[in-house]
Symmetry: C2
Subunit: 136 residues, 2 copies
């Protein structure tokens, strides 16, 4: 979504967009696009998967939500736009929030070690969720 200089494309509040956002924010899990599609479909049976993808992308670009690029095949989405860390179960793929304070100063430390301009960081833990621990 490139913006022509000077133009400000108005984002419309469509029924679909509103409901996708509502569903995402109503949940503490970190649903995939398809999870969300299933959830939203209960309220808008005719919505298409493409619309879900497009809206998630748009809202992530606007900083309203987060697109999580955690491990696994599918991307996941988070209604909490603030930086925070995650744990992912390597067996079932479940992703939980982790209530750790942000690691202070790492970005500064990293910036000192490289010629990259550091924009953000991500910390992700991998492990086994309680349910999967039992099953092993």
């Amino acid at each position: 979504m490139l913006l022509a200089p000077g133009s400000t494309p108005r984002i419309r509040i469509t029924r679909q967009r509103q409901i996708i956002l509502d569903e995402l924010c109503s949940v503490t899990s970190h649903p995939t696009a398809d999870d969300l599609y299933q959830m939203v479909r209960r309220k808008l049976p005719r919505i298409s998967l493409g619309t879900v993808y497009r809206n998630l992308e748009t809202m992530a670009e606007l900083g309203m939500i987060q697109k999580l690029e955690v491990g696994g095949t599918q991307k996941r989405f988070d209604g909490n736009a603030a930086t925070h860390y995650h744990v992912r179960c390597q067996r079932c793929g479940r992703v939980d929030d982790l209530d750790l304070g942000l690691i202070a100063g790492v970005e500064k430390e990293a910036a000192a070690k490289t010629r990259f301009a550091i924009l953000r960081h991500r910390l992700e833990f991998t492990g086994l969720c309680p349910e999967c621990q039992k099953k092993l």
Copy 2:
């Protein structure tokens, strides 16, 4: 690659496997499967992309190399099997190693905050590489 109890499937050292590993270890970048395919093809013109994928997968499972699930569409591979952190350029996708000491105690701290059994962690920085900074 599930192992039947008691069996120890012998891993054969084929020409393909050896060369894929050599190429990966000869390089400090973090090539994608296709990058590696192109590299290996110069020495083994008849190798197939499927073989590259299969071998990378196998060697990652054996802990000989690392499969990096950093952001972006493609997975990347690292000949250095030891835990270390990375910076990724959000514009061109380049991935560099980051010479930071491992964050002490985070896994223990994380374990205390969740009921997950923590197995490992990953810290990834996103930014702009020197080349992409110039181009903007």
